[in-house]
Amino acid sequence: MENKQIDKPFAITLDVGSSLANKTGSWRTFRPVYLQRIPPCNNQCPAGENIQGWLFHAESGNYREAWKTLTADNPMPGVMGRVCYHTCESACNRGQLDSAVGINSVERFLGDEALKQNWQFDKPVKESGKKVLVVGAGPSGLSAAYHLRRMGHQVTIQEAGPVAGGMMRFGIPKYRLPREVLDGEIQRIVNLGVDLKLNSKVKDIQETMKAGGYDAVFLAVGAHIGKRTDIPACEGSRILDAAAVLRSMEGEDKPMLGRRVAIYGGGNTAMDVARTAKRLGAEEVVVIYRRTRDKMPAHDFEVEEALQEGVLMKWLSTIKGMESGVITVEKVALEEDGALSPTGEFETLEADSLILALGQDVELSLLENVPGMEIKNGVVHVNQHMMTGAPGIFAGGDMVPSDRTVTVAIGHGKKAARHIDAWLNGGEYVKPAKHEVATFDKLNTWYYTDAPKTVRPMLDIIRRQSTFEEVQGGLDENNALFEARRCLSCGNCFECDNCYGVCPDNAVIKLGPGKKFEFNYDYCKGCGICVEECPCGAIKMVPEQI
């Protein structure tokens, strides 16, 4: 009989084998898994933008793809990159490292780039045959129309005014939002096949629905009636409301405000109208507010910019009356519990006009006699599907309870569109389960290079006081790319190859560019180095089921 062992070298009795036969995966008690966590910016965005997602494309210089990803949620990046209060940046994890990523400035760059290159939206793949009416061409109406159209529905917007844009046009001054940007982004939505009817006020919603054969309606009429307060005023006292003043800025005849202008209120509209008055040539602009600066609802940067431009502020004051160009102001005291109490101390100040910026009401006349419609505190009540008490009638934007910002309105438009679409198909839109948030402690920031934020140029102060030129400049391509690349990609793999490199057991398989990685659980011993060394927190350890 042949003895195979004879053929082997001295003292060798077995064939050489590979250690691959030894499946070390059986040692494991915990296993690493790839996951996507929601970045804090996305989690924060009222418009539900996938910020990390579009920055990912911008990082590689693929602005077209970045813009497409962005506009999948928000059709107006050029507007948003200017007027959004970017709470995403306050949430940004990079803020804890050096300074937050300038998300807003990259968004603006993408919006401007799209207008420059004349990028258009993709047409819907198929038509649903359903008809939806949108009432009001403000941010929420335009957003809803855009999303509904992309879902394949036939959309008509009826707008009472002569131009579309709503509060973006009539509430936000030109120095913050140049009109060619707004017009460009609205036109792009219209180009998608949305029927925009101007100067066509809806008087009775039920009648209009029936006449047009609409399957559903989205109400977004906004809130543009200035709130009044009872101020005793005599002849010769010029009292205006802020919404009306800002609206008239759009017309041929600019409002005559005079040399000395007083503004009553402490919100963003008060700041906008104060800064507008300054630009119209008023020498003395004073904002009268009954509480203190830290209690002001206006955003701090707006207050700061207004102060820089020479707007004066009078805190803890209420207006008692106005008589032939003289305003009587009473000093108030702020109690510890936050309540205000009159002090009985009065003073006077001269003003050619007084502008009230005390908030705005909704015009609700079109909803009269609609069965099921519920109106509380001057706003329309909607359920979690954005539907009013009347079936098929949805509502959003400033006319429902909200923070009343453009971003929130745009978010409402998207949300409502999803619910309307589901309702038209006889179903219910179920929000996908939210991933866990990628908090700062999930990151390994060692791997990120130091790179402070790029600051956008600001318009010279003299020009800001006298002209309506845009105050804040934009980024050019170089620094937009720099800014995008500051993104930490929290919670989402960006293919840095760390897990693939650091595994002592070669148990990570690289699948190739764009395809990311997978674990080879035959050999993964569960040491957890990949989790610890993942810069962005896109891997976690989970216990093995034994």
């Binding site: 002592p504 070669n506 180095i529």
Partner: protein
């Protein structure tokens, strides 16, 4: 010569690769076709720094030599966990003889290659700190002195881990090992010089000496590549944390290596013909406690009554390294 950090805002300088970098700016380990010289299925513990360091280094040698290399291994963890008879994890020509003679065997293999006229086949010797700084030290010094054409790589995990964590001449002071228990007036390993083999190698005036850690792959690969540009004796000392022997979490292997460098306790530099030519600067200076505390071998320094005196001596050690090698950036 160390590598030049890539100016990149997101990551890239410190990560293994990055989709936005050109392939030549990524490390060799980012390559889908990397050699995996040390294959899966080896029996090293979870989170083994030595297994990782060995793959990093040998893959880099394979790249530098066009896969024309032979490795001679000293006895130790690396040998034991990779080659339980009849299996092997090595995907390279590999030979093991004894604990103390890896450098001498490599000298012999290099001589054989010379006789056979195979100039392109390069020879590597490798071992742990025990096989290098203690048992194999005579052979190693001889190899240096003769300037034999061998690259010797030492994977330093600071004790004899394979046999049950006994102290070596590379074990740091105060560390608990099986032979230096934390008892008596000076608990743990005694305070002394230890044996600093990179400095001793430099004193031989050999062409190339370098230190590296598993926490900076760009640097490690650049050093291996540079070492292979020389003929003659070369030495690379790689710092590889041992979760088992140090009493550290298996996921902290790279973090501890990073901290060893960032505290200044393990200076990372390279020298040519006995002269220091590059140092890796500290990027985020850390106090030595941050490095010592996660390791149970130093647990007796902490607890209810921290041994501040000993911790201060560690800090002195780190500060001396920082001064000696200029580890802090002058601008900072």
């Amino acid at each position: 010569m160390s590598y030049e950090p890539i100016k990149f805002y997101q990551t890239g300088t410190f990560t293994i690769g990055n989709r936005l970098l050109a392939p030549e700016q990524r490390t060799g380990q980012a390559d889908m076709g990397r050699t995996n010289s040390l294959n899966s299925g080896h029996r090293a513990c979870q989170g083994c720094g030595e297994a990782l360091g060995a793959r990093y280094a040998i893959d880099a040698v394979m790249r530098a030599t066009g896969n024309q290399m032979i490795a001679c291994n000293a006895t130790g963890c690396l040998e034991v966990f990779s080659t339980p008879y009849p299996e092997t994890s090595w995907q390279i020509p590999w030979i093991h003889s004894l604990f103390g003679n890896a450098a001498a065997v490599a000298t012999g293999v290099a001589a054989a290659m010379k006789v056979k006229g195979k100039k392109d086949v390069r020879v590597i010797a490798q071992g742990g700190d025990g096989g290098t700084t203690d048992i194999g030290f005579g052979c190693l010094s001889g190899m240096f002195e003769r300037n034999d054409d061998v690259l010797y790589i030492c994977y330093d995990n600071q004790a004899y881990m394979n046999t049950g964590v006994q102290r070596s001449s590379a074990t740091p002071p105060a560390a608990r090992t099986a032979t230096t228990m934390p008892v008596g007036p000076e608990p743990g390993n005694a305070w002394g010089q230890g044996k600093n083999v990179p400095q001793i190698a430099m004193a031989h005036g050999i062409p190339y000496v370098a230190t590296a850690t598993v926490a900076d792959l760009h640097d490690l690969e650049a050093k291996v590549k540079r070492a292979m540009e020389f003929r003659g004796a070369r030495y690379i000392h790689i710092f590889v944390p041992c979760p088992l022997g140090w009493g550290a979490a298996s996921h902290d292997t790279i973090r501890l290596a990073r901290l060893a460098k960032e505290t200044g306790l393990f200076p990372v530099y390279s020298a040519e013909y006995g002269e220091v030519v590059s140092v890796s600067k500290i990027r985020q200076k850390q106090p030595v406690e941050d490095y010592l505390r996660p390791q149970r071998r130093f647990a007796h320094l902490f607890g209810k009554n921290p041994n501040v005196e000993v911790i201060a001596r560690f800090q002195e050690m780190a500060d001396r390294n920082i001064r000696k090698f200029g580890l802090l950036d002058d601008n900072k």
